[in-house]
């Protein structure tokens, strides 16, 4: 028993260290975002002059003037649309892979994995040229399509694992109960795979929300520039001020949706919803 006590202490210390390591930069960004331009370089961890000036500057001038509002809308829209399409397509694909025995099933899974492993940077150049020729450059679909390409494998893999956990007899039962294959899928399989769907949705959303590479390469204006790319184009109030404060404030703001997303769905991301379906 002595041993477990000591182990506990060691674990606690290790956990605290990791937490400090992970959270200090976050706290620092928050602290920076509340500093005035004059005190931003004072190297104090806690702001000496507390102000909302940086946040105000982000939204100053409304949608036409502000450097931040339009990118924020772009980010939200593009990430949500990507997540929606990705989950729908991935759930169909994953269901087929988990349930049906069709030729080329393993090739499909291997292909999905290969795409996920593919370095995105090597596709950026060709995409840039193609998108300009097709008129997709600097549009929402121009970003949504590459995001789908790279998020689908991830979503498919996650969902296949969840679908495999669902007893096949449930689907048979639904069919015998008079459900069409699609009804069986929608009314029985999907509700049971919900935790998996939410997990996959969060992963896809975060991927699309955080992406910088495609966003900076395939956009040129506020028409489709997302927040991570827009941050790079922030300017200070005058030529001589660094935009540090506003970047920090913007960084804090873009973290918020992620936190909300995870908090909203974390209760749903609890496995074990299928318990009681079959004798276990």
């Amino acid at each position: 028993m002595e041993n477990t006590g000591r182990e506990k202490t060691l674990w606690t210390i290790a956990l605290v260290l990791v937490l400090i390591f992970a959270l200090i930069p976050v706290l620092w960004i928050i602290s920076l975002s509340f500093k005035t331009p004059a005190t931003i370089t004072d190297q104090s961890f806690i702001p000496t002059e507390f102000s909302f000036e940086n946040y105000e500057s982000l939204f100053k001038g409304g949608i036409s003037e502000s450097p931040f509002i339009k990118p924020l809308i772009n980010s939200l829209g593009i990430a949500l649309i990507t997540t929606f399409i990705s989950i729908i397509l991935a759930s169909f694909a994953a269901y087929a892979i988990a349930r049906l025995d069709f030729p080329g099933r393993s090739v499909m899974l291997a292909g999905a994995l290969a795409i996920a492993m593919f370095p995105p940077i090597s596709t950026v150049g060709p995409l840039f040229d193609m998108w300009r020729a097709l008129g997709l450059y600097d549009t929402w679909p121009g970003l949504i399509i590459p995001y789908l390409t790279f998020s689908l494998p991830l979503a498919i893999y996650t969902l296949v694992a969840f679908f495999r956990e669902i007893p096949w007899d449930l689907e048979k039962a639904a069919q015998v109960d008079g459900a069409t294959p699609f009804q069986a899928f929608r009314k029985v399989i999907v509700p049971l795979a919900a935790p998996g769907m939410f997990t996959a949705a969060i992963l896809v959303f975060i991927f699309a929300w955080n992406d910088f590479l495609f966003a900076i390469s395939l956009t040129s204006s506020d028409a489709s520039r997302t927040v991570p790319a827009a941050l790079a184009f922030f300017t200070g109030d005058s030529t001589f001020t660094q935009p540090t404060g506003s970047i920090a404030a913007a960084a804090v703001i873009v973290t918020v949706p992620i936190i909300i997303f995870v908090l909203l769905f974390q209760r749903r991301i609890v496995a074990g919803l299928t318990s009681g379906a079959v004798k276990g």
Binding site: A173, Q175, V176, D177, T274, S275, G276, A277
Partner: protein
């Protein structure tokens, strides 16, 4: 309600394996039909084909006179109870039972009425708003039954519905299932590997082995008049004793005694003197010679050294040696008939079921009596029963 007709139904998989071979079976309207056999005999495949969950490779399936081969499960109007119940975990008991009716767009009031009625029958009323995860095994089983009965389908299909229950509950549910079926009078196909369930539940029993239907008959007929070695060995517990026998004139030489042949058996074996056969005798056709009264028929008495005695209270099982020189031939025939997994391997031992008053003791020699009229003979090559 409807009758179900299987006309040369065959299931062939992509790799050429035939799970069900040209199965012919007629299930009458309202009949309780049991499909029984060891695991892998194709009984569940046959059931799934009736349900429409597996494609029929060849042959014709009729439910209520209509060919339903190409109909989806939902259009066959049948209800199924699964071995693992397959309850929808995200729905309450009420929703589980009403799901089929809801899909059929039945009026909500009507659904509620039917579900409550079924719940009443199955003693589930107080659990209607609970989820399957919070129910005991027996309750889940009843919900699965309830889901089937609210629909008033043409037929019930049950795939080993009791095998996940513990022994005591299984016996209790067995009675309930039998009563329920009797009351509803719905055509039922029930798959099981348990010969006790088969014997106690069914109006008729279809015995299957390796995809081939062996015999379809009432439990009594299967027991008394099996068509081959497999059915004889599969039905009955403890199973039938098989020994090697040699015909000699009007008698048959068994390892432990010689029995006179009845006229029927005499004509069944033909006049080939010296023909070798497999003889089958059920444990209850033996008796302690001292306890045999006049009420039992003609029999032969012999002496045997008892190896083991098991007392069940109401009866007593005495085991004795059949003589090892015979074993090989019987074992070979038994394994050809697919009985090796059933006989417990030891074909050498004969089991006799004796009255509890018997003085049989382990290691002692006992005078045993055997009923000569109940002897069954089988062809050692084909396993077929030899009859007149």
């Amino acid at each position: 309600m409807a009758d179900i007709v299987l006309d040369h139904i065959t299931k062939k998989y992509g790799d050429g394996y035939e799970a069900v071979k040209s199965m012919d079976l007629e299930i009458k309207d309202g009949e309780f039909m049991i499909l029984v056999g060891p695991s892998g005999c194709g009984k569940s495949t046959a059931l799934n084909m009736i349900a429409g969950l597996e494609d029929i490779s060849d042959g014709e399936l009729k439910i209520g006179g209509e060919v339903v081969n190409s109909r989806a499960p939902k259009d066959r109007d049948i209800a199924m109870v699964f071995q693992n119940y397959a309850l929808y975990p995200h729905m309450t008991v009420r929703e589980n039972m009403g799901f089929a009716l809801k899909l059929a767009k039945v009026d909500q009031k009507e659904i509620d009425r039917k579900v409550e009625e079924a719940a009443e029958t199955l003693d589930l009323t107080e659990h209607l708003d609970r989820r399957p995860a919070n129910l005991s095994g027996g309750q889940r089983q009843r919900v699965a039954m309830g889901r089937a009965i609210v629909r008033e389908p043409k037929a019930f299909l049950m795939d080993e519905p009791l095998s996940n229950l513990d022994a005591k509950l299984r016996v209790q549910m067995r009675t309930e299932v039998a009563e329920l079926q009797d009351r509803l009078g719905t055509t039922t196909v029930y798959v099981t590997h348990d010969q006790t369930e088969a014997m106690t539940l069914g109006d008729r029993v279809a015995v299957m082995r390796s995809g081939i239907l062996q015999q379809v008959d009432t439990p009594g007929e299967l027991y008394n008049d099996p068509v081959n070695l497999f059915v004889a060995g599969f039905i009955g517990s403890p199973s039938m004793n098989f020994v090697h026998g040699k015909v000699s004139g009007n008698e048959i030489e068994l390892p432990f005694t010689t029995l006179p042949l009845t006229e029927d058996l005499r004509s069944a074996v033909g006049d080939s003197d010296g023909r070798e056969v497999i003889a089958g005798l059920r444990p209850e056709h033996f008796e302690d010679a001292e306890l045999v009264g006049d009420h039992l028929g003609a029999g032969v008495t012999f002496e045997a050294k008892i190896d083991l005695v098991e007392s069940m209270g109401s009866e007593l099982y005495a085991y004795f040696d059949a003589g090892s020189d015979q074993v090989d031939k019987v074992e070979q025939a038994a394994s050809e008939a697919g009985l090796d997994e059933l006989a417990g391997g030891d074909t050498n031992q004969i089991v006799a079921r004796l009255a509890p008053e018997s003085k049989a003791r382990r290691g002692e020699t006992l005078k045993l009596w055997v009923d000569q009229d109940r002897l069954l003979l089988f062809d050692p090559e084909t396993g077929e029963r030899l009859r007149a």
